[in-house]
Amino acid sequence: MVSIGIIANPASGKDIRRLVSYATVIDNNEKLNIVKRIVLAAQALGVTDIYFMPDTFCMGLRVEEDLAREKALLAHCHVLDIPMTASQRDTVRAAEEMEALGVGCIVALGGDGTSRAVAKSIVQTPLLPVSTGTNNVYPRMLEGTVAGMAAAAVALSDTPKLTCLRDKRIELYRKGELADIALIDVVISTDMFIGARAIWDAESIRKVIVTRVHPASIGFSAIAGGLCIIRPEEDLGCSVDLSEGGTSVLVPIAAGLIQEVSIKNAEVCHLDTDLTYRMEQNCVAALDGEREITLKQGDELTVRITRKGPWRVDVNKTLEQAQERGLFRK
């Protein structure tokens, strides 16, 4: 048996950034179509079993029904029997189950937030993130067919981690306990509430901690992108303070939204080093673009960048290696 898992977030790509920016819209029928292409490609290369996260759109059941009706389904499809909460918890739980089942690769469709939820529970399973969200830095825009081929190639490989990169992650500690993680950025904002979750207004941002920096990035990880570059494979991160009177840079905060931001201070930080912040007022911590944690004045938050993120599939390297092993030869 060769298996992969598919987690398709039905809620990605519908948040408030469609109102306040020019963010992409990908509806669930299009996500369904992408999932079908992943399944078709993966089974063609030898994947026999595919596990799906249960979701409100019933993505797994629809794929199975549609492809079976078209007589195109070869693999066995299984929708995980776990309770559905229509929240991030479903992704965390499904990823945990898939790892326990020993799937060869998890394909996650969504945005940075979806990949973050998967990364909360997996340790060893390679992750192939496919972008269907907003302002994505972590997942790539990738054709589903290619994603399915790469997922199959990883699942069929004896040495899957050779073509994966163990990513960095930002760990957030409160009172010594690991409270949450982020894969790309943690933003401290003066917003008072979690509300519509997405964050886009640079005026309310006070601090940004990132695992990678590049001018070709978008969102808050792009803030320092005008000043330096930190690549995913480098054992470094960056901490940026924003306030008036600093260096002004133009930043692509969201799709079609270039804002001028004043950087007071930007510091490169090393892995496994604690950075502790005391909140001067009530505020919110946003993780990978979504407001998640409300913090009260006086609260302390410790942030640590580590190399304990997920094993992310390098699609090009994986398919190059698959070609060398003769995976595509009949």
């Binding site: 039905p10 809620a11 519908k14 948040d15 408030i16 469609r18 109102l19 306040v20 819209v25 509806d27 669930n28 029928n29 409100t56 759109f57 019933c58 309770p83 909460t85 229509a86 008072m192 509430f193 979690i194 509300g195 519509a196 979750r197 009530n282 409300t294 009260k296």
Partner: protein
Amino acid sequence: MKVTNQQIQDMYTCMKKIRAFETKAMDVFAEGSIPGFVHLYIGEEAVAAGVCQHLNDNDYITSTHRGHGHIIAKGGDLKYMMAELFGKSDGYCKGKGGSMHIADASKGILGANGIVGAGHNIATGAGLSISYRKTDQVCVCFFGDASTNQGTFHESLNLASIWKLPIVFVCENNGYGISMSQKHHMAIKDVADRAVAYGIPGISVDGNDVLAVYEAAGEAIKRARSGLGPTLLECKTYRHRGHFEGDPGTYKPKEEQESWLEKDPLFRLAAYMTDTNIATRDEILKIDAAVDKEITKAVEFAMESPVPALEKVVEDIYSDIIEEVRVR
């Protein structure tokens, strides 16, 4: 988006008012004190409160058969509403309309509506009127998920989009059309997806989080007032009661009901207010007590109001204004 502590307290008061009004309506209906049907808004309060916080008396709303919450949030008078439910002559419709026809032109409330999907067209007409008069008003159209299967929804969004009308279409997706689960009446899960077909923004928010609704509605209303056209805002929520009072709601699985009760919008906001020191527990109890008093007064007012006289039954059928227009 900025929000003041006072605004948060106002939204709590509004939600509490709706909850208390509906709970009283549930009780008096069970006693047999009021005629007709009532469709209660319990569980969905955050939508009306979060949206209407951005509106003033000049703005319009259109409502549905489940309209009490919208009317209260837009400033409707509890006394006249309760009297209407009791079928009394001091009610909003002189006791002849009942729960599903309450309107108040002075507050921009263009009416609850017993016809599923009829509010879409009324809102589009109001939006066209605003656009024609070039004012900065907006119209908010409240409707349920199942009504978006009606032709009126598609006609209205199409026209509103073409003419860039200042309308915010607010879908209260409570997962059911009467007793039919959304999965059996619609091939999609997110009504917001339908916006793509009309070239307008469509977003989904947690309709049980009043601050999420407040933030999203604020941006959509700002967009409408600036002449950028309509938005489809889907608020995912849940009604705690049956479709109408008397419907036991046996089609709703127990686990589903329990999971939504945990997300009760009123309790969530109260917890947020105490956690963030916006209000103390005592201050919240004080708001609750004041609201309860207001509801008691509304019921007393309704009970003391006379039943409309028999000869009034054919009055108020046609408006004189229509006749004047015809003469011209």
